[in-house]
């Protein structure tokens, strides 16, 4: 079916937007509104994969389904059986599983993954779609580090670690993208299924592994600039253990990709 669309040129495409959530009761409603606002003439569905949030996220999603239609918003609660050390940590651990779970319900030929906390703004969705249609890329990834993109809400220390991490990763891995840890991406569905099956990392290293494995497999990857407003930064710290995790992830990727 995808080939048929491509030969027709302006074929019909459907975009499945997977949003993993944990305690994003308000943000999920805001995101859904903004997605509908910015994707007016696009065929899409939103797949909310909720990690058993205790804050009523599921209720809000039901209300949104009622408002926008159950064929546009799918949701699923998946029971996450793991030792929950810290809530933030548990959230990170569930990401790959959340995507795989969401993929099972996706009926589009393209899949978008994005965060639920409004650091990824739905207003960039049209630019992802446009870039993919122009270049027929397998993956379009959002980058915060080029002109036209940017970050708000980071202090100097945070920028330093981000930049240092990026230079190190570029030197070691030659990844072919400017923003390795970004998680605002558009994939062809078949490509996502292929790449995700070979990834085993957790958290943001998982995001890195996805894009590096995709590069190694020779997939055509394009980038679009995005802006990233970090509203959570004040509460979460980038401590020593995070840096160690990152370095371990880098070495793992260096050796196994």
């Amino acid at each position: 079916m995808a080939d048929e669309n491509e030969t027709k040129g302006e074929g019909k495409h459907k975009y499945s937007i997977i949003v993993p959530t944990y305690n994003e009761r308000l943000n999920i409603a805001l995101i859904v509104y903004l997605i509908f606002k910015h994707l007016r003439d696009v065929d899409f569905e939103i797949i909310v994969v909720d990690d058993g949030s205790p804050d009523g996220t599921q209720e809000i999603v039901k209300q949104l389904q009622h408002l926008y239609g159950e064929d546009r918003i799918l949701s699923s609660v998946f029971v996450f059986v793991m030792m929950q050390l810290l809530r933030a940590r548990a959230k990170k651990l569930g990401l790959g599983t959340a995507y795989i779970h969401g993929l099972k319900h996706a009926t589009g030929d393209f899949v978008v993954i994005m965060d639920a906390d409004l650091s990824h703004h739905p207003k960039y969705l049209p630019s992802f779609i446009k870039k993919q249609l122009e270049t027929n890329a397998s993956i379009v990834t959002g980058t915060r580090y080029v002109k036209g993109g940017g970050v708000h809400g980071w202090n100097l220390m945070r920028k330093l670690t981000s930049r240092g991490a990026n230079v190190l990763a570029q030197t070691l891995l030659w990844p072919g993208v400017s923003d390795l840890t970004g998680s605002f991406r558009l994939y062809k569905k078949s490509v996502l299924e292929d790449v995700i099956s070979s990834c085993v990392s957790k958290g943001y290293v998982f995001q890195m592994e996805m894009i590096v494995r995709a590069t190694r497999k020779g997939y055509h990857i394009e980038e679009v600039p995005i802006t990233f407003v970090d509203r959570v930064f004040g509460t979460s710290k980038l401590g020593g253990s995070e840096i160690v995790e990152y370095l371990k992830g880098l070495i793992y990727l260096l050796l196994t990709t």
Binding site: L30, G150, H152, V229
Partner: protein, 89 residues
């Protein structure tokens, strides 16, 4: 070919070249022996330079926070008039 194999073969090629230089002694051996150190140091300097440049040119977008707040207000407005229970946030 795995990426690490690519890097290792590059290192092997460079090392072979270095050893050839040592043997051929076109350049005085004392200089040639120091080449790896020069290489590592310049690599480190290059890395630091890239980090420094990156920080100076780090793209920021302060206006985005305002735009986002505006979008949030608009969204809250729409949602509450359409019966979505946003609660007290």
């Amino acid at each position: 070919m795995k990426h690490v194999v690519k890097i290792l073969s590059l290192l092997v090629a460079v090392s072979a070249f270095w050893i050839v230089l040592l043997q051929a002694a076109i350049v005085p051996q004392s200089h040639t022996l120091l080449l790896p150190i020069y290489f590592v140091v310049s690599l480190g300097c290059y890395g630091l330079l890239m980090v420094g440049i990156g920080i100076m040119q780090f793209p920021t977008c302060p206006q985005e926070a305002d735009l986002l707040n505006h979008d949030i207000a608009e969204a809250k407005d729409f949602l509450s008039t359409n019966g979505i229970d946003i609660g007290t946030y």
